[in-house]
Point group: C2
DNA sequence: ACCGTTCTACGATGCTCGTCGAACTTCGAC
DNA sequence: GTCGAAGTTCGACGAGCATCGTAGAACGGT
């Protein structure tokens, strides 16, 4: 079949994003590592499995779901891979300065 | 007796503040309410008990401890009252924009 | 000195969260 | 078609957290 692979996983719209969920999502070491990797990587997003993490695959999936449902990242399916992208536009519009403040913190 | 009441409760120094702890501390609805009240109130700080919260006093004490140990607030004893102050200077210096982003979020 | 106010400390309980292993699905390559 | 790689889902377990009630300490006023 031609075309079509635009499988974007369900996520909250910009208006549905809650500050408490975002903060709680960012408050975990594993998820913060993930977000930092997404922020410093290419803007088109990176494959989830490409980020080295000291956890198993299922735990990684769990954390990615938390980040997605909180509105921090977008995920789309591309073949057998999942590509994650940081929703920098939405976060900057809702909470200007927050993301930069978090990312600028000492690693 | 003259002077002396400078009883400041133990708290992390600016260098000891961890971004993960700060985010996790701010990620709770009760604590976020507390921080918002401290931010909009007088700069000298307000009494802990003055903020209306849907929890008991012991729970309130617990949340204040979390905020203090994360480095978000300072607490000093003043007679029979505990005065809480937001550590805006330290937070702004460490994570510029973060606090404003959080406080600017829709209530 | 006594009492009321204000808050902390101590247990105790229920629940959520982070973690894992195993089984299942889907896709790409041979 | 068959195999392997990439991720998801499910159930389970342990740790930590939020909550509460009660008891106790420190201070101010009468």
């Amino acid at each position: 079949m031609p075309a079509a692979e635009q499988t974007v996983l369900p996520q909250p719209s910009r208006a549905e994003i809650r500050i408490e969920q975002v903060l709680q999502a960012l408050g975990d070491p594993v998820r913060l590592t993930l977000v930092r990797a997404l922020a410093t990587g290419p803007a088109v997003g990176i494959a989830c499995g490409a980020v080295p993490l000291p956890v198993t695959k299922s735990t990684r999936t769990h954390h990615l779901r938390i980040l997605r449902e909180a509105g921090v990242i977008t995920m789309r399916t591309e073949g057998t891979r999942r590509i994650a992208v940081l929703r920098r536009d939405d976060l900057d519009a809702l909470y200007p300065g927050l993301l930069d403040g978090v990312l600028g913190a000492p690693h």
